[in-house]
């Protein structure tokens, strides 16, 4: 059966972000509606991968015009079909609206979120149907594989990757070509290629988006790598928390096998390569290469000392090349377009693009790909649209729980592997979390430390014990019981962990506290010397209080309080019983009169029990 020739394509994002805001239902209703009005032979519905603009999901793009609809609900579908697909008109209320100027931007290509982005690694994500290999091939897919296998020697492939200057996108930034050369030159007949898709950083999801949106780009990169290093078997180690990525990878591998792109005698050459998927089971440390290898072998994912490096002794003791998803996803384009083309993007020492998962208190959360060398300011304010609710920017954390934060003075830093490291942050996993004035940097670093210590595998002492001790000291500080010696002690432990831990997890665990102490030391000191949390976030140091001069006695806070500790009645000034308050902040959120206030290190006079509105007179405090 031949496919009809469609006059329009409706691309609906099927990435995890949009799926959780309901895109599957939208697609289902859309298909039914097209059927009902008799357009199913004229308009095609395509489920794509992630387009990155997750905050506006579910996202729909209608081609050939490129009309971009956001936050589409199932009930919007009949209008879209009627207006856009039948009559060719744009539904203005579904169009992206610029929050500053309130102007509507109906076309995909004009949306500011995408303007400063340069999509290289993500070039197919959100454009093609990831479940059809034909669409990948139509965009030039597997051309690089053919070029490598039929016109290049393995040495030439390695030279090309080296010349491109591609650095490992897993975070450390080691030269990918050099790593390949080590594995290629290591003695042994059996070698392996491993792809690290154990994206464990809470708040980063670019690897998942690539696997969900363009799985063949990773597969093609791995086959080329296998050819270059002399391996015939590869493993993709993927988090079990990514079921959709695993499903699409399995399908992609099956399709590549059917096309003769995987398996025996690929493209009629004498090169053979097989790929298997291994599912992780939830352990952050498995992102470390030796731990990851242990996990593939079915053991506890504990790292071991290096050397020997996996390039010499890796999986099952054989030479193994291990790269991140994004590194492999860049390979095909480097081979197809040449090293020179790639080296021209980005900066001389960090060529190519960087992908960030922009989240936190920023207006446009989502996945962004930008050329290396762009400033943080451009990423956060131009691409990300600035801070939510017109609050003030305070800090940005890069590199996830093992990274570091940068204050406002760091916003003009040009982003690449080396500049970030120098400033005390790292590229790492690519997580980029923006926080505003309401975030306490002590609590923020404690959050990352809590995560890192819980994920310590426990094998080496500095990481197992050091992290825990540091967390205890930091908890003391957030409880208002810390001393200046505690801060000094934290710095001492940090040095010990950095120098003495077995793997990067332990060595980088102190990163967030280090950078927070470097840029926000006065905030730590306020907790210690004044028992005050300047951001009013550390619950032990704050109180929610109802301002008796503003309370109108409406009762909203009383009804919303999940622990029922607010006393009051109609037209009575409400009072919070501090003893039972869990400081959840619900009253603060629901009060329409801003009468509920957060205080830290100060007191405001309140009545002991509810009294009628307007009758409150503060007791004269003795001076």
């Amino acid at each position: 059966m031949t496919e009809p020739i469609y006059r329009a394509d409706v691309l609906v994002c099927g990435g995890t972000g949009c799926v959780s805001s309901g895109s599957l239902k939208v697609m289902e209703v859309l298909r039914a509606e097209l059927e009902r009005v008799g357009l199913s032979q004229e308009v095609r519905v395509v489920e794509t991968g992630c387009r990155g603009f997750c905050a506006q999901g579910p996202i729909m793009v209608i081609y050939p015009d490129g009309i971009f609809y956001c936050q589409v609900k199932p009930e919007d579908v009949p209008v879209i079909v009627e207006e856009t697909l039948l009559k060719g008109r744009i539904v203005q209320r579904l169009v992206y609206s610029e929050p500053e100027s309130h102007t509507n931007v109906p076309l995909y290509e004009n949306i500011p979120f995408y303007e400063k982005q340069q999509r290289v690694t993500l070039r197919n994500c959100g454009i093609i149907d990831p479940e059809r290999i034909e669409e990948y091939i139509a965009r030039g897919g597997y051309e690089a594989l053919a070029k490598a296998l039929t016109t290049m020697t393995p040495e030439q492939v390695i030279e090309e990757v080296k010349a491109s200057g591609l650095r490992g996108r897993g975070g450390a930034g080691f030269l990918t070509g050099l790593k390949w050369e080590f594995t290629a030159k290591a003695p042994g007949d059996v070698k392996y290629v491993v792809c690290n898709a154990d994206e464990g950083d809470p708040g980063a999801f670019m690897d998942r988006s690539i696997l969900e949106g363009d799985p063949h780009s990773v597969i093609e990169g791995m086959i080329i790598c296998g050819y270059a290093v002399g391996a015939h078997e590869g493993y993709i180690y993927c988090r079990a928390e990514y079921p959709l990525a695993i499903k699409r990878l399995k399908l992609a591998i099956q399709q590549a096998e059917e096309y003769g792109l995987l398996g025996e005698n690929i493209l009629g050459t004498d090169f053979s390569f097989r790929l298997k998927i291994k599912e992780g089971a939830g352990a952050f440390v498995c992102g470390e290469e030796t731990a990851l290898i242990a996990s593939i072998e079915g053991r506890r994912g504990e790292p071991r000392p290096r050397p020997p490096f996996p390039a010499v002794q890796g999986l099952w003791g054989k030479p193994t090349n291990n790269n991140n998803v994004k590194s492999y996803a860049n390979i095909a384009q480097i081979i197809a377009n040449g090293a020179e083309w790639f080296a021209k993007i980005g900066t001389p020492r960090s060529p190519g693009t960087a992908i960030f998962a922009l989240t936190g208190k920023v207006r446009h959360t989502g996945l962004v790909e930008v050329p290396m060398g762009i400033t943080l300011r451009e990423i956060i304010f131009d691409v990300g649209g600035g801070i939510l609710n017109n609050k003030r920017f305070k800090a940005v954390q890069t590199g996830g729980p093992l990274g570091g934060c940068l204050p406002e003075s760091g916003l003009d830093l040009k982003v690449d592997f080396d500049s970030l490291r120098q400033a005390g942050a790292v590229m790492g996993s690519g997580g980029m979390i923006v926080v505003d004035e309401d975030t306490c940097m002590v609590e923020f670093s404690k959050y990352f430390l809590t995560f890192a210590t819980a994920e310590s595998c426990g094998k080496c002492v500095p990481c197992r014990v050091g992290g825990r001790r540091m967390l205890e000291l930091l908890t003391k500080i957030t409880n208002g019981e810390g001393t200046l010696e505690d801060i000094a002690k934290i710095e001492e432990i940090a040095t010990g962990m950095e120098n003495g831990s077995l793997c990067a997890l332990g060595q980088l665990t102190p990163g967030p506290i280090r950078s927070a102490l470097r840029y926000f030391r006065e905030e730590f000191e306020a907790h210690v010397t004044e028992h005050r949390c300047p951001a009013k976030q550390c619950t032990a140091l704050i109180q929610y209080v109802i301002d008796p001069n503003k309370c109108t006695g409406c009762g909203r806070c009383r009804r919303a309080c999940p622990v029922q500790v607010i006393a009051g009645d109609r037209r009575m000034i409400h009072v919070i019983n501090q003893a039972g308050c869990i400081k959840c902040g619900t009253c603060y959120e629901v009060c329409p009169f801003d009468a509920v206030v957060k205080v830290s290190g100060e007191t405001i006079p309140v009545p002991e029990a509810p009294i009628p509105v307007g009758t409150f007179k503060p007791v004269e405090t003795q001076a």
Binding site: T16, G17, S20, S21, C54, A55, G57, G200, D201, P202, G203, A204, F205, R208, A240, E241, Y242, K278, E279, G280, A281, G282, A283, F284, S295, I296, E297, G298, R299, R300, G301, E302, W316, A357, T359, G360, K361, T365, G400, G431, I433, V435, T439, F444, Y447, F448, F451, A454, E455, C457, G458, A560, P562, V563, I582, K583, C584, G585, T586, E589
Partner: protein, 162 residues
């Protein structure tokens, strides 16, 4: 990671479906993790009997199987409640108030995160990043994502569970 205890539950375990899984993986190297994953799918958790049986059939010490099962966050040796609430405390959810949501739910259910209510009604878990950062803070209630949570909405959510 806190040590997990293997709970003695007076429930007989049918090992037949597990044997089928073990047959499937008989020739694969390093298959302990996928076997445990499949076993947990079958039984909902990993009872002691199951761990012992896997060790025997795969010809590895029980200590090794237990070691693997306790290492990875995915595995649980406790029976789950009828409902599972997973709250995300990934970074994006955290900065948008996940800690308060967790506190309210612990209060509402009278248990700590990671525990199950004594009547086995609800299991409360904290997870790190579900990749739905744009809807932060989010929770997963029996497989369904619930986004943009606020404390009282979260409390209502679990109160209504049977």
């Amino acid at each position: 990671m806190p040590l997990q205890e293997v709970v003695e539950v007076n429930e007989s375990v049918d090992l037949a479906p597990l044997d089928k899984v073990l047959d499937e993986y008989a020739s694969e190297r390093g298959a302990v993790i996928p076997v445990l994953q499949r076993a947990q799918e079958i039984y909902g958790y990993l009872p002691k009997e199951v761990l012992k049986h896997i060790a025997k059939r795969m010809n590895v010490p029980v200590s090794q199987v237990y070691g693997v099962a306790t290492f990875y966050a995915q595995f649980s040796m406790m029976p789950k409640g009828r409902h599972t609430v997973e709250i995300c405390d990934g970074t994006a959810c955290h900065v948008r108030g996940a800690a308060q949501i967790i506190k309210v739910l612990e209060q509402e259910l009278g248990i700590k995160a990671g525990e199950t209510t004594p009547d086995r009604r609800v299991t409360l878990r904290v997870v790190f990043c579900l990749g739905s950062c744009a809807l932060a803070p989010v929770a997963v209630l029996d497989g369904q994502i619930v986004g943009r949570l606020v404390p009282d909405k979260a409390a209502r959510l679990v109160r209504e569970l049977e």
